[in-house]
């Protein structure tokens, strides 16, 4: 039942916020904050109470075990249930959602000054949708939430966004975001339905249940096509490079809270989807597809990095770095080793923090400078209190500085992938250099160099300082002691890996290609 509440609380809170608008400006903010805190606390309580280190099961669908489950029939006609379940992976991501939700509320405390109630309604609805995505294991329900979170996000960008440079309006960005994700989502719907009908043809029963569908035997081609349906949906959201077009616009034009949510959580739903659905449902097809996916990941790493270097808009820059980072996530997911998969989890969490930090930072810069154009910045170092210091910290995190969680994640992915795909890892490691380039360009352009004037700006107030310090503390904490995270998700990842590797042709060739190259 608590799972249901996890989903419902943000929605209820959102409606309350909307209505609370009439009681003054502060009311919606506080309600939203408390709501997200509630979610976070519930998650943490679950974390402390539950045991997520279930022994990894031998591959096979019947072995799926959830730490917690809640199920009521919804549309019996098609065997659709409201079926929520929690395991380590979803727990971690929900906790992340709660935390970043609080951040999003906090960072819009001053930025948003009109239509506050409605703003928080949208914000909380997004978060509710995301929690739903992380909990739903009925494919219909999953899709339901998957699509559901788009609308409020759309509003967030379209109504409270900033008009971008070069004639890119926020509405255009919002529509682009929506169309990309919705179009790909429909592909997923088709894939889900095809899977369901395949199951129906097989057993004579309709079911959207994850556990049932895991066992659906599919022809090789069919599995590949359906896998692609899922993959494309997730690839758009992740985003994987040829399908990334919405992201820079959306990020750049969204309000800070939107960017934080977008980068911090929404992108993670894609990785979650791949881990939860695309891989386990179609292990063989995924296995076959893995080289392509990893190549796409690599392309993303470099394409994002190169484009980040060419941006003038600070938020666009950060957006492209997200693309680059998500390339590593993709590589990790399709490497199929437990180490890499665990690395993906850490990387997701880490990226959520670092990107959130960077976006909050750029939001604060915007509040002070009223511009996001890098060319209008420069020489700000000594003039902004501790903001530059924090920027530095998050830049360091984003370039994968050891000691930050990003490093742990990235390196675990690379370590884990190396035995299966050394070439990919070697090329991917070069991405570290590019990461350095774009990260430092950010520092360089904003804080270094001659300043345009000597105006002093307000330093960080207590709220901002606490917020940034909190994020950075977490970045460092998980950078130096990610074990709690890893323990929580190890069972899940072990299972994913089991399913994935179970389909691996025997006698894979780990190092031979590199060794061969060395002769």
């Amino acid at each position: 039942m608590i799972l249901l509440w996890l989903v419902l609380v943000p929605f209820i809170g959102g409606l309350l916020c909307w209505q609370a608008d009439r009681w003054g400006e502060k009311a919606p903010r506080w309600i939203a904050l408390i709501t997200m805190m509630l979610v976070l606390i519930m998650t943490l309580v679950l974390w402390l109470q539950g045991d997520y280190q279930l022994p990894a099961m031998n591959a096979g669908a019947d072995s799926i075990r959830w730490a917690m489950e809640w199920k009521v029939p919804w549309i019996p006609r098609f065997g659709i249930d409201v079926h929520l379940a929690l395991d380590g992976l979803s727990l971690v991501l929900i906790a992340l959602t709660g935390f970043l939700g609080m951040l999003a509320v906090l960072c819009s405390w001053k930025e948003i000054d009109d239509r506050i109630g409605f703003f928080h309604l949208n914000l909380l609805f997004i978060l509710g949708g995301v929690v739903g995505v992380f909990l739903a294991i009925d494919l219909f329900l999953f899709f339901f939430f998957w699509e559901m979170m788009l609308v409020p996000m759309y509003f967030l960008i379209a109504l409270w966004g900033h008009s971008g440079s070069e004639g890119k309006t926020r509405i255009r960005a919002a529509i682009k975001f929506f169309i990309y994700t919705q179009a790909s989502g429909l592909l997923m719907l088709v894939a889900i339905l095809a899977l369901v009908f395949a199951h129906h043809a097989n057993t004579g029963e309709y079911s959207f249940s994850y556990a049932d569908l895991l066992q659906t035997p599919l022809s090789e081609n069919m599995a590949m096509v359906l896998m692609l349906g899922f993959f494309i949906a997730f690839a758009v959201k992740l985003p994987v490079v040829p399908l990334h077009g919405w992201l820079p616009d959306a990020h750049a034009q969204a309000p800070t809270a939107g960017s934080v949510d977008l980068a911090g959580i929404l992108l993670k739903t894609a990785a979650y989807g791949m881990l939860r659905f695309a891989l386990p449902l179609f292990p063989e097809a995924s296995q076959t597809f893995a080289p392509i996916a990893m190549t796409l990941g690599l392309v993303g790493v470099f394409y994002g990095a190169v484009l980040a270097c060419g941006q003038r808009d600070i938020k666009r820059l950060i957006a492209y770095t997200s693309i680059s980072h998500m390339g590593f996530v993709l590589i990790g997911i399709y490497s199929g080793s437990e180490l890499a998969l665990q690395g993906v989890v850490v990387l997701m969490v880490a990226h959520a923090f670092s990107a959130a930090g960077l976006f909050i930072m750029s939001g604060q810069l915007f509040e002070r400078l009223n511009t996001r154009d890098l060319q209008e910045m420069g020489g700000l170092w000594g003039r902004m209190g501790s903001l530059p210091g924090f920027s530095l910290c998050f830049v360091a995190a984003s370039l994968g500085m050891p000691g930050t969680a990003n490093f742990v994640g990235e390196f675990m992915v690379l370590f884990g992938t190396f035995p299966t795909a050394p070439v990919v890892v070697i090329i991917g490691a070069c991405g570290m250099v590019f990461a350095a380039i774009y990260s430092l360009i950010l520092m360089q352009r904003v804080y270094f160099g001659p300043s345009l004037n000597d105006q002093k700006f307000e330093g960080l107030d207590g709220r901002e300082f606490t917020m940034l310090l909190g994020i950075f503390a977490l970045v460092v904490l998980f950078g130096l002691y990610p074990q709690p995270l890893l323990d929580t998700t190890s069972a899940v990842m072990g299972e994913v890996q089991g399913l994935f590797q179970g389909s691996l042709p025997a006698g894979s060739v780990p190092m031979s290609s590199l060794a061969g190259g060395g002769q």
Binding site: V241, P242, H244, G245, P248, Y303, V306, L307, C309, G310, E338, L339, Q342, G379, W381, G382, G385, S386, G389, L392, M401, P402, G403, F407, V408, M412, L414, F415, G416, F418, P419, P422, V425, I426, A429, C430, M432, V433, A436, I437, L440, Q444, Y447, F448, G449, P450, S451, G459, F465, L480, Y481, P482, Q483, L486, P510, M511, L514, A515, G518, Q519
Partner: protein, 622 residues
């Protein structure tokens, strides 16, 4: 575990604490407070180090480890936050905290009155923290943590004077080029882990010989990757170009990071991973060759510089080249020994240069200085002692002992080519050192900055210079790093044939170089000036001044293509392709909208058209 081990974490926690205090002060701390925190944290760390060293030396000197916690544990991937103490790391630790403390102290004088001194000490402390972790880490992950940490601190400190974009660019370049090296190191890590299943250094050194035969291609790759990492960090060919630019930072930074400690991390790494390199002799040889090449290249480049710090920077490259040379011939302990003495005298030289620079109102162009020896006696002393050690003046300087050792080891390893390079390098060293001292301290004062030079005062100024000067003499050479059990035996240990002769030759080279230089720069100044003002001499000067044109090469080869790529892609071409879809849709819309004429006739016609098509399909379709 000895008592000392439990104190070991203090060596890096204290500087870290300093960083925290300074960083969280949010700029409210007074200059005095910042200095106190910044200096004392390293000072205390140095004390702890001294205590540990005494304990260690009085014990059996065996390696000890301390695992604080398991960093990550997934399957067999279990890097720890674990420290290992042995002769090598304690040597490095001593250098870092000891020399580091002196430099911090000097910096308190050097940086007085600067904006953001809190920031400066925060970075410096963070640097010490990272560097200590680098040398203490018992596994490669932790080493990598320190490795990257020092990199970012170096970046920050080079770019400390952030208002000048050139400084920023220099910092950027430094970070980027070392990062390229880091990528190699990282790949080395992946390779090692994939093959050996561990990242623990001791375990690696233990398992490697069993896992690989000597010369196995994979171990060669691993060694190469480590070498790549070392090259970047230690500014060796071809990843050396950043170091000269790195002089943009405050001079204490150059002393600490770009002379004494960080740049020698590559040497440390190779020495640390000797087990891997021993399995790949050709890579080890490559190390020596690169070292030799670098020392020559940098020697010539140093000859043609006018900025005193750049001369020192190239001299640093050159001296690290010696260390690599030593590593290349398998004389690991000689390399470390030279690393240590170099830390002393190069720190001395840099600090003295710093004294000159501050005294002369941040003028560091040799052509605008001169005749300062009377005004700045302490700095002059520092330059004389440091310079002597650098040019390895026989017997009295520490540099003589260490460099001589390297030359001897290369002879003993029968590497004649490397030996020759070393000797030529020695000659060059003497030449540029004397040129530097004469240019700065003798002749007439060439600018108002020099004429108005104010000598530094105070303990903070004097103590580090004097202490380092003492350590740069033969006294410093009497410190023998306890490396015997850690590193394999040097080739020179088994034989003594020809040692004396070589010592004589080396001493002769150094003295001859000094004499030649004195003659050239004191007597033949005009002739030299004429030589470089035109003809082939000028081209050679330019070539050396540009350090053989590597910067230009990289610019053409890498930077420009990258810039062009960025420029081409900046509008996101792939996204634009998707925009095409939108345009097509819009076009279709425009076309279709034109059918909505609003006229009944048109509508009726379309109906009839539709009906006709449907009928044709139905009538003739099947």
């Amino acid at each position: 575990m000895g008592v000392s081990m439990s104190y070991l974490p203090l060596t890096f926690l204290l500087p870290l604490l300093g960083t925290f205090i300074l960083a969280l002060s949010r700029g409210h701390m007074s200059e005095r407070g910042s200095v106190w925190v910044g200096v004392s944290s390293v000072g205390l760390a140095a004390l702890v180090t001294a205590f540990i060293t005494i304990q260690f030396m009085s014990g059996d000197q065996s390696a000890q480890t301390l695992t604080l916690w398991t960093w990550i544990s997934v399957g067999n991937f279990t890097p720890t936050i674990g420290l290992a103490l042995d002769g090598l790391s304690i040597t490095m630790l001593g250098i870092i905290t000891g020399v580091g403390f002196l430099i911090h102290l000097f910096a308190a004088w050097y940086m007085r009155g600067e904006e953001g001194i809190t920031r400066f000490f925060a970075y410096m402390n963070l640097f010490v923290f990272s560097m200590v972790l680098l040398v203490l880490g018992d596994n490669l992950m932790l080493l990598f943590l320190g490795w990257e940490g020092v990199g970012i601190c170096s970046y920050l400190l080079i770019g400390y004077y952030y208002r000048d974009s050139a400084n920023g660019a220099a910092a950027f370049k430094a970070f980027l080029i070392t990062r390229i090296g880091d990528v190699f190191l990282a790949i080395g890590l992946f390779l090692i882990f994939a093959e050996l299943g561990t990242l623990n250094i001791a375990a690696i050194l233990e398992q490697a010989p069993a896992h690989w035969a000597t010369g196995d291609s994979l171990v060669r790759w691993a060694a190469l990757m480590f070498l790549g990492g070392a090259l970047g960090k230690s500014a060796q060919l071809p990843l050396h170009t950043w170091l000269a630019d790195a002089m943009a930072g405050p001079t204490p930074v150059s002393a600490l990071i770009h002379a004494a400690t960080m740049v020698t991390a590559g040497v440390y790494l190779i020495a640390r991973m000797h087990g891997i390199f021993d399995l790949a002799p050709d890579v080890l040889h490559l190390v020596g060759v690169i070292g030799a090449a670098t020392l020559l290249m940098a020697g010539f480049a140093a000859l043609a510089q006018t900025d005193i710090k750049r001369i020192l920077a190239y001299s640093t490259m050159s001296q690290i080249g010696y260390m690599f040379l030593a590593l290349g011939v398998g004389a690991y302990d000689s390399a470390i020994f030279h690393l240590m003495t170099h830390a002393f005298f190069k720190a001395l030289l840099f600090l003295s240069a710093g004294a000159v620079i501050v005294s002369c109102h941040h003028e560091q162009d040799m052509r605008k200085l001169g005749g300062l020896w009377r005004r700045l006696p302490l700095a002059y002393m520092g330059f004389i002692v440091g310079g002597a050690a650098l040019s390895a003046l026989p017997l009295v300087t520490a540099g003589f002992y260490s460099k001589d050792d390297i030359l001897w080891q290369s002879l003993a390893a029968d590497q004649k080519g490397l030996l020759l390079a070393g000797l030529v390098g020695a000659l060059l060293t003497s030449l540029y050192t004397v040129r530097l001292i004469i240019g700065t301290f003798h002749g007439e004062m060439k600018s108002d900055h020099a004429r108005n030079a104010e000598p530094g005062r105070g303990l903070q100024h004097g103590l580090p210079l004097i202490l380092l000067a003492v350590l740069s003499t033969f006294i410093g050479a009497m410190i023998h790093p306890p490396l015997s059990g850690v590193l394999p035996a040097s080739p020179g240990e088994s034989t003594e044939a020809g040692h004396t002769a070589l010592e004589l030759i080396a001493a002769g080279t150094a003295i001859a170089g000094i004499a030649l230089a004195a003659w050239l720069f004191l007597r033949k100044r005009e002739a030299l000036a004429r030589l470089v003002s035109g003809g082939p001499g000028a081209s050679l000067w330019t070539l050396w001044n540009q350090a053989w044109g590597f910067d230009l090469l990289f610019d053409r080869l890498l930077v420009r293509p990258f810039r062009i790529l960025v420029f081409i892609l900046r509008r996101d071409i792939i996204d634009a392709l998707f925009g095409l879809v939108a345009s097509i849709t819009k076009g279709l819309n425009a076309g279709l909208t034109r059918t909505q004429t609003g006229r009944v006739r048109t509508y009726a016609t379309s109906m009839v058209l539709g009906a006709t098509v449907v009928l044709i399909f139905l009538a003739f379709g099947q």
